[in-house]
């Protein structure tokens, strides 16, 4: 059947690109394999040429798929499930890319795209390593291409095709109105597309500029971990066990910098625009990307040990294999739906678990088996490292990092354990503390080692030399740390005293790291900036640690008030973190007074902005924050809130909306209570009393409005609230053209409505009084103070710069040594 209005060509073209990319990447894998295996140079070059053609074809296909899918999203072709599901007509241009990678298919494509870029650079630069390394990369491309294939092989669906049509996706199957005769068993109406006016839109929480830049950076980080892995495999295969480390080191450094920044961008996003109340929650999705990064860092350090001493080559192999392996494992965790209850932001299950598991195993198992087989052949030094050597402590540090990664992933894998053993274990009561209480010791050990180890020499350090060099930075660090701990008021009493002591030690150690490494640039390497990348990165790392420690332990709940009727406290009471603000009414919140001034709406979306005015009680400062919320967005109920923050050098004040007056409740159910009154009478209401001050009647009124016998009664009232406020209101009753009209007056702050209902001949009146909560406009907020959060972000930047500095240094080193040989 032909359907009206469909554009089938882009989808067919896109799918053609996918299928061709599967074939091309397979050919590239095979040809690179033959090239690497061939004995004669001529034969090898022949296969290499073929492999390059195949890989470049693959690159064209991946880019082609990318362009077509973007075209579909950009042109709002809602006949395609992907465009319909992830975008909408009202979506701003900048978010079109975001909805590209909101879905699993798009994010696989993004990943694959980065491999293309990296692959082209490898072809250009890796010389004799090209064939074996690119074989691994091409095979990865093959694996990724199958993920978006959407091909059926004997009833088994391989991959999920991003170009599937909406009508084939099953979404329309249960919508009778779209089928012929309103019967779901009949085929779709030919004009069904006319009813699909708009897409489902990008999840409003993802409509954020971070969603545009964070995934590309993170996926470049993910993608780049394959390069050190591929060099390991190439080294094992060609039995050039140590040689691969030279070209692999700059790649590993690149990966560490980008990957680290990618992860922390996610943290910044969570902090700035999501309402998790922080930047890191040990959520499985966060952990899954942190773990390969930690192992990668371990691998870089053992590689440096090998480079200088010949030790730790075996460990380096293992770390690079596992770093990439855990990237695949995290892919499995976050995309298979296995995390279920334990994560708030994993992908939805696409029914590809078997394929994802195969993806993981097909890389990790052969690599580990290969490593085990060649283990004995990998050169290792029999002589023991001296306890005063740099390599000994560097290795301990790398090991601690690695084990901490294993502990994190072990805990994160609880749902996997449940699946395998059939148990029903749930995460512990206080998930964050459970991680923190262990990782704080990792932080202490690693920070202390980072501070000291640079001052040790490889092989052996003369005691005198060591103390001479490290004395000054140590003294400065002790002074700085005592100052911070003495006056910084770092108190974290939520958990045990031991934990607080650990925080203090960790704060001191991270200060030591910063100072010792900054000093090392002058003391150790005499200000030679070119080779100072490592020290710069370590300074940044120290800042990251210090930023994390201080901002987390000194995080303050500002909205920690009990507003309204206090309820009895349970024994383990959480501090009550929500504060309700009635519109126009100033409320008290710690150092500030807060006023909810009003709200405004986005012109196109169900997005509201709430103006909250903060005023310091000491009168020194006032400002307005405008957190926003999507209200009852597209079939959801409730709020999706984005916070707003005021940034200072030393801290951030941060607030977001947790609840608003339910619009359903504004349907007023309370009724007017009639009260007879005469002048100077008083009547009580729940929050005070009302005095009737007089009664005026006017009868000479314009006839065209009021008719022949028009009358207008006015009764001025004074309302005395028990809060001390006094309001005056003049209620009116009009008799016009035989009808009586009464206009209710609302005193919002007192939540009462008054209405003059009747005026009797004896100058008494009947006043209607209505008391209702629903007339109040209010918002409930949470507010936090995060101190020194900028130190963390700045530290991340410094770390990345430092790592990239050493990458540049290593590349130029490699170039020099090539020229010499």
């Amino acid at each position: 059947m032909d359907y009206i209005g469909e554009h089938l060509l882009p989808g067919q073209l896109g799918h053609f690109f996918i299928v061709l990319s599967i074939v091309a990447s397979f050919v590239a894998t095979f040809a690179y394999f033959r090239s690497a295996k061939s004995a004669s140079e001529l034969d090898g070059d022949y296969w290499k040429k073929l492999a390059r053609i195949a890989f470049i074809t693959e690159v064209i296909c991946v880019v082609g798929t990318f362009v077509v899918l973007f075209y579909i999203i950009h042109s709002h072709l809602f006949e395609y499930h992907y465009a319909w599901k992830h975008s909408s007509l009202s979506l701003e241009f900048k978010y079109l890319l975001a909805c590209f990678w909101e879905g699993q298919e798009g994010s696989f494509m993004l990943w694959s795209f980065w491999h293309c870029v990296l692959g082209l650079i490898l072809i250009k630069t890796s010389k004799q390593w090209e064939a074996p390394v690119m074989m691994v990369v091409s095979f990865m491309q093959f694996a990724l291409a199958t993920m978006i294939a959407g091909i059926y092989i004997f009833n088994w669906k391989m991959g999920s095709n991003p170009f599937i049509l909406l009508r084939d996706s099953g979404v329309l199957d249960n919508a009778p109105a779209l089928h012929i005769g309103g019967d779901v068993n009949q085929p779709l109406r030919p004009d069904y597309l006319l009813s699909i006016k708009d897409g489902n839109d990008l999840n409003p929480l993802l409509q954020n500029y971070w969603m545009v830049i964070h995934p590309p950076v993170l996926f470049l980080g993910f993608a780049s971990t394959i390069v050190p892995f591929a060099f390991v495999i190439a080294g094992l295969w060609k039995k050039k066990f140590g040689e691969w480390t030279k070209p692999a080191l700059p790649w590993a450094l690149f990966s560490a910098a980008i990957f680290g920044v990618g992860i922390m961008m996610g943290a910044m996003w969570a902090y700035e625009s999501l309402t998790f109340g922080g930047y890191w929650a040990w959520d499985p999705v966060e952990n899954a990307s942190l773990v390969p990064w930690l192992i990668l860092i371990s691998g870089i350090h053992t590689l440096l040990i090998y480079k200088h001493t010949g030790h730790s080559l075996r460990a380096t192999h293992l770390f690079f294999i596992l770093s990439f392996g855990f990237v695949l494992y995290s892919t499995f965790l976050t995309r298979s739906g296995i995390l279920g209850e334990t994560s708030v932001h994993a992908f939805t299950d696409l029914g590809m678990n078997f394929q994802l598991l195969t993806f993981l195993l097909v890389f990790v198992v052969p690599a580990l088996v290969y490593f085990a087989m060649r283990y004995k052949e990998i050169p290792a030094i029999k002589k023991e490292e001296a306890a005063s050597s740099r390599e000994f402590w560097m290795f301990i540090g790398a090991l601690v990092f690695f084990l901490s990664a294993l502990v994190i992933i072990g805990k994160t894998s609880l749902p996997v354990l449940n699946k395998i053993l059939g148990t029903k274990l749930a995460p512990p009561e206080n998930v964050e503390f459970d991680y923190n209480q262990i990782q704080i010791f990792v932080a202490i050990i690693v920070a202390a080692l980072t501070a000291i180890t640079q001052y040790l020499k490889y092989k052996e350090t003369p005691t005198k030399y060591f103390w001479k060099k490290i004395a000054l930075p140590t003294v400065i660090a002790i002074i700085a740390a005592s100052f911070v701990l003495g006056f910084g008021d770092v108190n974290y009493e939520k958990e045990t005293v031991g934990f607080m002591a650990a925080i203090w030690v960790a704060v001191a150690c991270s200060i030591y790291t910063i100072i010792a490494n900054a000093a090392y640039i002058w003391i150790g390497i005499k200000g030679k900036l070119k080779i100072s990348g490592g020290s710069v990165a370590h300074v940044g790392f120290g800042m990251v640690l210090l930023g994390i420690l201080i901002s987390s332990s000194k995080k303050e709940v500002l909205s920690n008030n009990i507003n309204g009727i206090p309820a009895p406290l349970a024994e383990t009471e959480d501090p009550r973190e929500n504060l309700t603000l009635v519109k126009g009414l100033t409320s008290d919140m710690g150092k500030y007074t807060l006023t909810y001034e009003g709200d405004s709406s986005h012109p196109k979306k169900e997005l509201s902005f709430y103006k909250i005015h903060f005023k310091r009680k000491d009168g020194k400062e006032e400002f307005t924050l405008t957190p926003n919320s999507f209200v009852n967005y597209k079939g959801n109920e409730g709020l999706m809130s984005n916070p707003d923050a005021r940034h200072y050098w030393t801290h951030d004040v941060f607030t977001y909306i947790t609840s608003i007056a339910n619009p359903d409740n504004t349907k007023d159910t309370a009724s007017f209570k009639p009260v007879p009154l005469k002048i100077n009478d008083t009547v009580f209401y729940s929050n005070g009393f009302i005095v009737m001050e007089g009664l005026n009647t006017k009868d000479s009124l314009p006839k065209e409005l009021f008719g022949e016998k028009g009358e207008l009664h006015e009764a001025p009232l004074k309302i005395y609230s028990k809060t001390g406020s006094i309001y005056t209101v003049t209620t009116r009753l009009a008799v016009a053209k035989g009808n009586t009209l009464s206009l209710p007056d609302t005193i919002t702050a007192e939540s009462i409505v008054l209405r003059l209902q009747k005026v009797n001949a004896d100058r008494t009146i009947e006043l209607g009084i209505k008391e209702s909560n629903s007339i109040m406009e209010y918002v409930t907020i949470k507010a936090y103070k995060f101190p020194f959060i900028r130190l963390l972000w700045f530290g991340v930047l410094v770390t990345a710069i430092g790592i990239l500095m050493s990458m540049v240094h290593r590349i130029s080193q490699n170039r020099k040594s090539r020229l010499q040989s």
Binding site: G5, H76, K85, V171, L172, N174, A175, L193, L194, S195, I196, K197, N200, E341, V344, T348, E384, E385, F392, I396, L399, V400, S404, L406, V407, G410, K411, K424, L425, A426, P427, P428, E429, D434, I438, I562, N563, G564, I565, A567, A570, T572, E573, D574, R576, E577, N578, T580, V582, K634, G635, N636, E637, G638, T658, S659, N773, M776, Y778, T780
Partner: protein, 149 residues
């Protein structure tokens, strides 16, 4: 044995110890009956909102007090108190994961996770609704859609 091997063993033993301790601190997924059977123990109660019972939440009175009745798949119910604002999608949620402890007739929870059919089955339900309403109005507003393509 080399020093480095000793360090290796000590650290690995430490890591294993940490993971084993972790397994001891884990909680469990429970039904109302099993949650009541272990008062004071932190559990993940899997239930849903009992819509026949009143939900008490008034941000003006106390923004940090929500109380309702939860009922599990076996039909057992329990009164729940949550000291926070009402979570998103609370009423339309198909399943609630209530994290907390049972004590003296009340399940005190400190976190609620709402699970919506829409988030799980690829937004099927709201979509169907939308499509149907869209279709009912389609004869009158077809023009706008046609001009789009």
């Amino acid at each position: 044995m080399k020093k480095i091997h000793i360090a290796l063993l000590v650290l690995i033993a430490g890591a294993i110890a940490v993971l084993l301790t972790f397994l001891k601190t884990t909680s469990t997924y429970d039904t109302v009956d099993t949650a009541i059977s272990k008062p004071g123990k932190y559990v993940h109660l899997m239930a849903k909102l009992d819509k026949s019972q009143p939900v008490e939440y008034d941000a003006l009175k106390d923004a940090n007090y929500l109380s309702f009745t939860a009922v599990d798949t076996l039909g057992k119910s329990v009164k729940v108190v949550y000291h926070n604002t009402k979570p998103d999608n609370f009423e339309i949620s198909e399943r609630l994961v209530l994290k907390g402890k049972y004590n003296d007739g009340i399940f005190n929870c400190d976190a609620i996770q709402t699970k919506c059919p829409s988030k799980y089955k690829e937004d099927m339900k709201p979509t169907d609704k939308k499509l149907q309403t869209a279709t009912t109005e389609s004869p009158t507003s077809n023009n706008s859609a046609e001009s789009k393509y």
